[in-house]
Symmetry: C2
């Protein structure tokens, strides 16, 4: 009976962080005053404190208070007692490493499955998939495992980018990378463009936002799905 | 007494694979008829056989024969007996995983340090750094370790891409990613643009090709170096 928003990005070009999700978040966290923040992904290498202050300033606008898991001496207890959770973006390797080192992978999974409202953006969304093997991030640290929360029965590729037909660059396109992933891994991958999110409510998964998403299944041509589509059958 | 070419990419836009390096390779592999190929990175998920056949067709033009390490029952012996080595591009996680699983990290390091001529392109260049933590690749498999050959005393970022000033995409730029790397890791990173390569000969490291490279050192502003510059003091 999960209740999650799994968003491609926290921020859209030209607007404030989370502004495009404001109504969605008021609804997600309805009746909850205090949200537990997981700052481990640390975008741009900022400190956990700086990240938390920035996020608190955003949530203040919708009358929510942020406490961060790094402020607790017992992070497992912090997760167990949380009424709502938000995991922000940054580097997925760093995030997953810290989740394992602090032994909160299982408590977090349990909290989300028990219905604690959860928002993930970027790296915080990546971890909702079966593994972090479709992250775009640089492997700046070696985590104990690539397995993640498995809130949805597939993998997420946030910040999904269509190939640029005019590019002369020889680095792999996102689509090529996901094809390589499928040579070794069976699960589908949802390419979430910036501005899209998945809503997980009870056992239903729905694509929301203004854009289509691109679905990659092993041994199939990739295909587009429209906003409003159900992904409940994808596994 | 290494003798290596560490190239950003195998292929430049609009030209044949390795064409821009042809004279350099004739010189590198001078007097050597048979080159041991390491196909483990498997670009686009092609088979080791397909990859080897393609590379053999390229090397035929400069009168070299390719044998691939995957064709030997004892890959360690294959490395020990090699007169010249080429590690091709593809996925660095896959490459490093296979190097560890086949226990050829140490033999490969020893061969290169003993002066066996070595060419690396893309993933094959990444592994010449201290770690693979500055690869651009997707973590499609979990290798036993991120430590690599350390032929040079810094890290490599192949296919280095300058930020696009017109981009509205909120995924991290390459420069941001390398900055995040430096929050956790001390070694310099050489951003090698497509068309650039490092020549390692004896104890000298030189930037070659037509382009500048971008150097990232911890707690310093990134800076450019011109082709022909020595990197021997960078560590």
């Amino acid at each position: 009976m999960a209740n999650c928003i799994i968003a491609s990005t926290s921020t859209l070009h030209g607007s404030e962080p989370l502004a495009y999700l404001q109504d969605t978040l008021i609804n997600l966290y309805s009746g909850i005053e205090e949200i537990l923040f997981i700052p481990y992904a640390r975008p741009g290498g900022i400190s956990h404190d700086e990240y938390t202050i920035g996020v608190n300033n955003i949530f203040k606008k919708i009358n929510k208070r942020i406490v961060s898991v790094h402020m607790f001496s017992d992070p497992i207890e912090a997760i167990k007692n949380a009424k709502g959770i938000y995991t922000g973006g940054g580097n997925t390797f760093l995030l997953v490493n810290q989740l394992y080192r602090n032994e909160i992978i299982e408590p977090l999974k349990k909290a989300i499955h028990s219905g604690v409202p959860y928002l993930g953006t970027s790296a915080g969304s990546n971890i909702c998939g079966l593994t972090m093997k479709t992250t775009n991030d640089m492997p700046i640290v070696y985590p104990p495992n690539f397995a993640t929360l498995g809130i949805v029965p597939f993998n997420i590729n946030p910040h999904y980018l269509d190939p640029d037909p005019n590019s002369t660059h020889k680095g792999e396109t996102r689509e090529t990378r996901i094809k390589e992933f499928h040579n070794l891994n069976p699960q589908p991958v949802v390419g979430l463009r910036e501005g899209s999110w998945l809503k997980v409510y009870d056992n239903k998964i729905t694509l929301e936002g203004n854009l289509n998403a691109r679905i990659f299944e092993k041994d199939k041509e990739p295909y587009e799905i429209e906003t409003g589509s159900s992904l409940s059958g994808l596994n």
